[in-house]
């Protein structure tokens, strides 16, 4: 479970160059503003409206935000990030708009560029603020609407613009397209793994992400190993392999839809009943919660995060794990999008418990976890590097307090952010993947009689 550090550095370099490849904005100022407002009008729901109406400006959301807490800069107050939407709503959609117009400023172009930083660079849509808000305002969900509005005005950070454009134009990310993926599959097969690609019929469609292809090959290998071991009927699809969705991250709805549709097509093609999302935070809600609505109909398959899938297999007794022992002190970092956004926070813990490691639950973990600081594409935004690093201090404090030797993660971009953060801060905690850890400690099927004593039965629900 190592990462090729050379690849890692090359990847980091590539990220630094991302911005220079960004396509230029072709809209006039008026068109920008109109596009923003049109998106707001289109995306607004009664739920958002009622929540925009109810804010009492108490500022408690700031206390939940890693960016505010670590910098103390009030501009990062989460609710303030909704100001564009809030002002548009108050002036043009609210029942009391005729009154609000008297004292609510209209959105200006300056505001748009100022808020670009607030909704992209300094918000990971982690939704921790939604957990503290006494009025129950779903700030993260509305930040997404702000991102979509700015995206409609071509006003997203250059790095994300490049990524979205690439995913739209070539169905690739960082140059990894169908062809590169097929090569990756061959590499895996060369390692002696049985990899299914483009099978006509399979119960499970396994997705991967560009990060796993470029950097975390071992995670990819581990997933394949586990699926084979569990004797599942599964396949990769060379057309729909990418779980990452930069349309979703950057708010470009057309790209989001196109990326989603590739996966759905692939799943339909093989008749998959389950689509497994790899260790990639945003990919999960993108497929689990967004896809059906973009598609306009319920999905014909179930969407599971790989941790969720493994947890389920553990529970029914298919997956047997070796006891690692208490000498291994680990903690777990919940990906916001999988735990807090999607309620899949228990499975990783079940897996770690089955591995019988010394699990140290961090203070404010689970659905209350602090974001790594790099989610929702923030990791790719170069100008946000220092802010990200500031937020990462919170993670270091949080895990230092647990006394664990390593942090287990189940999200590739969290892991990247941890690695960069740890490198900058000379933080010495281990950073490892949950899937890799599980795959490394799985009980192989044969021969059952000899190794009976090693079979872990704790995970069995009976």
């Amino acid at each position: 479970m190592s990462v090729n550090m050379e690849n890692f550095q090359r990847f980091a370099e590539a990220v630094k160059q991302l911005g220079s490849e960004a396509p230029a904005c072709k809209l006039t100022d008026e068109e920008c503003l109109a596009a923003v407002k049109e998106t707001f009008a289109r995306r607004l729901t009664p739920a958002m409206a009622v929540q925009l109406e109810s804010c009492v400006h108490c500022g408690q959301c700031a206390e939940a935000c890693h960016y505010y807490v670590e910098t103390g800069d009030p501009k990062y107050t989460p609710i303030r990030k909704l100001d564009l939407l809030k002002r548009f709503y108050r002036r043009e959609m609210s029942p009391l708009r005729w009154l609000h117009r008297l004292y609510t400023r209209d959105i200006t172009l300056d505001d748009l560029s100022q808020w670009q930083e607030l909704v992209f660079d300094s918000c990971t849509e982690c939704a921790r603020c939604s957990m503290v808000c006494p009025m129950g305002i779903n700030i993260a969900e509305m930040v997404l609407v702000n991102r979509q509005a700015l995206a409609a005005a071509h006003l997203i950070p250059p790095e994300l613009r490049t990524m979205a454009q690439e995913q739209a134009d070539n169905a690739s990310l960082f140059g990894v397209g169908s062809e590169q993926f097929t090569q990756m599959v061959k590499q895996l097969e060369a390692q002696g793994l049985e990899v299914h690609l483009d099978r006509e019929q399979a119960d499970i469609l396994l997705l991967t992400s560009v990060v796993d292809i470029l950097l975390f090959n071992d995670v990819l290998a581990a997933s394949v190993k586990l699926l084979n071991l569990l004797e599942k009927s599964w396949t990769f699809s060379s057309e729909g392999f990418e779980a990452a969705n930069f349309g979703f991250l950057s708010g470009v709805e057309s790209v989001q839809k196109a990326a989603t549709e590739r996966v759905i097509r692939a799943a339909r093609a093989c008749g998959a009943k389950v689509v497994i999302v790899p260790e990639c935070g945003h990919a999960y809600p993108s497929l689990r919660w967004e896809a059906a609505n973009l598609e306009g109909e319920p999905l014909p398959f179930e969407v599971l995060a790989i941790s969720e899938f493994l947890g389920r297999e553990l529970k029914v007794g298919n997956l047997k794990l070796k006891k690692i022992g208490r000498q291994k002190k680990v903690s777990f970092h919940d990906p916001c999008k999988v735990s807090r956004h999607s309620g899949a926070d228990r499975d990783p813990r079940e897996l770690l418990r089955a591995l019988d490691v010394d699990f140290r639950e961090p203070e404010s973990g689970g659905i209350m976890n602090w974001c790594c600081g790099g989610g929702a594409g923030v990791f790719l935004i170069n100008r946000a590097a220092d802010l990200r690093q500031a937020a990462f201090r919170r993670k270091m404090k949080q895990f230092d307090a647990t006394g664990a030797d390593s942090v287990v993660l189940s999200c590739g971009s969290c892991r990247l952010n941890f690695m960069v953060g740890a490198q900058r801060a000379n933080w010495d905690k281990g950073i490892e993947s949950l899937v890799e850890l599980v795959a490394a400690n799985v009980v192989e099927k044969s021969p059952p009689a000899d190794r009976g004593s090693a079979i872990q039965t704790n995970g069995d629900p009976s």
């Binding site: 607004l44 729901t45 009664p46 739920a47 409206a49 009622v50 929540q51 109406e53 109810s54 804010c55 009492v56 400006h57 108490c58 500022g59 408690q60 206390e63 939940a64 505010y68 103390g72 009030p74 501009k75 107050t77 609710i79 303030r80 959609m93 609210s94 029942p95 009391l96 009154l99 004292y103 939604s130 957990m131 503290v132 808000c133 006494p134 009025m135 129950g136 305002i137 779903n138 969900e141 689990r288 919660w289 967004e290 059906a292 609505n293 306009g296 109909e297 319920p298 999905l299 179930e302 969407v303 807090r340 956004h341 999607s342 309620g343 899949a344 203070e363 404010s364 659905i367 209350m368």
Partner: protein, 217 residues
């Protein structure tokens, strides 16, 4: 017509009319916006239960937020309980509600109400100081926040003045008190004071959203 007669008669009638019209206007205005049926597969189906539960669970913060929100929690409770006691458990107020609604309930001795009023005022002052000095609150505050503060504080101050016959003749103080209450009633539907009712649908929306995703908000 004296000031008191104005305050007791037409001003109160109109304030109530504006209160009701404004609130129904604001709430009804949220109904017809386009809804999107969520087609994703829910983790939990009883979303209404999550919504209902969250209306109540948000009265107290999650353990993790207890310390960072201690000020708001403490002062918020003093303010809201104080207002509740003063508004609903002061005997003359109960008589007013009896006249308006036809129902009555037992009140508290004036000394207790007076103490609650003083604590309420203290909490209001604490909130104002915090709003003026805390960087976050200062940044996100607008005139609605300060005006709404004033509109809530005035009835408390004039109420305490009328109660202790301080500053002017009783009927003048009573008129001021009534007028300030009427100002509050008139402003309530239009500014942030409407959170008095909006907190319910707002919390419920979040609770339902999270419930659908299998998260206890």
């Amino acid at each position: 017509m004296t000031l008191l007669e104005f305050a007791r008669g037409p001003a109160m009638s109109w304030a109530l009319i504006i209160l009701v019209a404004g609130l129904t206007w604001r709430l009804a205005g949220l109904l017809l916006l386009l809804r999107r049926r969520d087609l994703s597969r829910p983790r939990n189906t009883h979303t209404w239960w999550g919504g209902f539960r969250t209306i109540f669970t948000r009265f107290w913060p999650h353990r993790e937020f207890l310390r960072p929100t201690a000020f708001h929690l403490a002062m918020g409770y003093v303010l809201h309980i104080g207002l509740f006691v003063v508004v609903f458990l002061f005997v003359p107020h109960i008589l007013y509600f009896k006249g308006l609604l036809g129902i009555s309930w037992p009140g508290l001795p004036n000394k207790v109400v007076l103490l609650a009023g003083a604590l309420t005022l203290g909490a209001l002052v604490a909130f104002l100081v915090r709003r003026l000095t805390h960087p976050v609150m200062r940044t996100i505050s607008g005139w609605d926040d300060y005006f709404s503060w004033l509109v809530v504080t005035l009835p408390v101050v004039t109420g305490l003045m009328a109660f202790s016959h301080l500053g002017a003749r009783y009927e003048t103080l009573l008129a001021w008190h009534l007028l300030s209450v009427e100002l509050m009633l008139i402003w309530l539907p239009f500014g942030k004071l409407a959170h008095a009712v909006l907190f319910i649908p707002s919390r419920a929306q979040l609770g339902a959203w999270f419930q659908r995703r299998g998260v206890r908000a």
